[in-house]
């Protein structure tokens, strides 16, 4: 557990970067510090490995004040990933990853063997081992950065805008791998980002900062979306937070109608030979088949169901079973009723 205990950081010029911050980052979880630029999130992050020292207050790791520990030794036990990876341009990928184990006094052979394993772990083929950072794409460099931070198996990882410098498609992939990795490793992670969507997607807990180093709200992503404490958080979280909060619920409890009920809307769900949805046919135009645009299963999110219902040409989302066969439909109206009931924490039933 990382504890910020009444931290204040005032710069010599008089600006307050962090204003009486008290925060607990639980062990084994991802805590994201998010906020507009100049809100003190990066400054706070860097206090954990003593890259910045607070004006007053203490930072504790598992109850031990970091200020009382040797800087270099402390840092070797904390992984650190930054925006452009900060790889050493003069070292091969393998030797970059082997850096901290070598600092810890392990032999070059041992360190390199461990590094090789990590490269695969972060999704890089070992053929990259002998290349130099300049030979890699931004996304690959970022992966090496993560591998390097993990090399000495530190219990804590600090990540400062780790995914900001790569394009959205690559970022998406890195997010997925990052979450998968964290599921295996269970590190205590503190991450800084200015991107609230990233914070909500990756964080177990999210700390929203506002200008002047104030902590505006600290809670789960769901709490932020559904119960923002004030206008600032509501606005920062974004306009479509209602839709986004639907990501947190699965469609498991959503009641569906039999596919034949599509007749209520004057359409018919056409199935292929194996019972999978093939398209919609309107009673008025029996010649043309409209695409379904996708289907959902019970484990998909309500957000996907809503999106399917809205984008469907007939306003109906199709549920499929594990075998891919259509086993139910959700009409626009049913969904609206369900969402209304969900708001009141009551499961809804379709009305005939």
């Amino acid at each position: 557990m990382i504890t910020f205990d009444d931290i204040v950081k005032v710069y010599p010029g008089g600006g307050t970067a962090v204003d009486h911050l008290s925060l607990e980052l639980p062990t084994g979880k991802i805590t994201v510090l998010v906020g507009p630029s100049g809100c003190g999130k990066t400054t706070s992050l860097r206090m954990i490995n003593r890259m910045v020292s607070p004006t007053s207050g203490r930072v504790l790791i598992d109850g031990r004040d970091v200020a009382e520990q040797d800087e270099a030794v402390l840092r070797r036990g904390i992984g650190y990933v930054i925006q452009h990876a900060g790889l050493f341009p003069h070292r091969t990928v393998l030797d970059n990853v082997a850096t901290v184990p070598m600092l810890l006094g392990r032999s070059r052979r041992e360190a390199r063997a461990a590094a090789m394993e990590l490269l695969e772990r972060v999704g890089l083929s070992t053929e990259f081992a002998g290349r130099y950072p300049a030979q890699l794409s931004g996304g690959q460099q970022q992966r090496v950065g993560v591998a390097r931070a993990l090399a000495a198996d530190p219990p804590i990882m600090l990540m400062d805008e780790p995914f900001s410098a790569v394009d959205p498609v690559v970022r998406e992939g890195l997010h997925r791998e990052f979450l998968r990795l964290q599921q295996d490793l269970g590190k205590t992670i503190a991450m800084v980002t200015h991107d609230i969507d990233e914070a909500i997607k990756l964080g177990d807990l999210v700390a929203v900062f506002r200008e002047g180093g104030h902590l505006a709200q600290f809670g789960t992503p769901r709490e932020l979306l559904e119960q923002p404490v004030d206008e600032f958080v509501a606005e920062f979280v974004g306009r479509d937070r209602g839709i986004r909060s639907l990501s947190f619920d699965t469609a498991a409890e959503l009641a569906v109608r039999p596919p034949a009920d599509a007749a209520l809307d004057g359409v018919e769900l056409v199935l292929d030979a194996s019972g999978r949805p093939a398209g919609w046919r309107r009673a008025a135009e029996p010649e043309s088949l409209l695409a379904t645009g996708g289907s959902f299963t019970g484990t998909d999110s309500l957000r996907l169901v809503t999106d399917l219902a809205i984008s469907s040409p007939v306003g109906i989302a199709v549920r499929v079973g594990p075998d891919g066969k259509a086993d139910g439909i959700v009409r626009h109206h049913d969904l609206v009723d369900y969402l209304a009931a969900r708001r009141d924490h009551r499961p809804a039933k379709p009305t005939p």
Partner: protein, 219 residues
């Protein structure tokens, strides 16, 4: 010229040997002195500009003047090779200290920062990360200093210690072209070879620079 060389091989060889010694010893001294000075110029940013200015002034002192005045300052004999070695060491430092400082300043801030965050202490970070990354810049400066030294040694001939430069003075005294030609050719050859040697060393120790500037060939 072949005749001259075969008749005077001892003279030419000893001149060449002295030339190499007088040019390269100051390079070694210069490197040893420049790295800490250049580092100080980065470690304490307020030192950088005074450092650059001092280097500029030192390098602008005419070599002959330095050769003549150093014995007075150092208390050495006017014909002592130490004068040349010290003078050329000063020029080397003037060129290299600034290059070292510039090279270290040009190291990507995020690289230094991530080294620190990984648990490098200051000295090891300098040796393991900052200096190696600054090496291409430093070696470029070293090439200039080396070629400059090799040509400056000849000036020493005017005060009696000048390696291949002595072949010039001898040729002028005797109105004899051959030693002058041999001196010039050998001097240029030595400068060219020394430069080439540094380029080869640079290739060997900084293989990563071949991929810089975005021509990486990432898959």
């Amino acid at each position: 010229m072949i005749n001259y060389l075969s008749n005077n091989s001892d003279t030419v060889l000893s001149a060449l040997r002295q030339h190499l010694y007088l040019a390269l010893l100051p390079i070694l001294i210069g490197i040893v002195v420049s790295v800490p000075i250049g580092y100080l110029g980065v470690r304490f940013p307020w030192l950088y500009h005074p450092l650059v200015n001092t280097c500029g002034v030192l390098y602008s002192i005419p070599s002959l003047a330095l050769f003549v005045f150093l014995p007075v300052i150092l208390g050495t004999k006017i014909l002592s090779p130490i004068n040349i070695v010290v003078a050329l060491s000063i020029y080397t430092v003037a060129l290299l200290a600034r290059t070292v400082a510039d090279g270290l300043r040009a190291v990507d801030r995020t690289v230094v920062q991530s080294a620190t965050a990984m648990g490098y202490r200051r000295f090891r970070r300098l040796v393991d990360v900052e200096l190696p990354v600054a090496l291409p810049v430093i070696l470029a400066g070293l090439r200039v200093a080396t070629v400059s030294n090799i040509s400056l040694v000849s000036v020493g001939a005017l005060i009696g210690v000048g390696g291949l430069g002595q072949l010039f003075t001898r040729g002028f005294q005797l109105f004899y072209l051959e030693p002058i030609l041999v001196g010039i050719i050998l001097s240029v050859l030595v400068a060219g070879l020394a430069d080439l040697a540094i380029v080869l060393v640079q290739r060997a120790v900084t293989p990563w620079t071949r991929y810089q500037h975005g021509n990486g060939g990432a898959s």
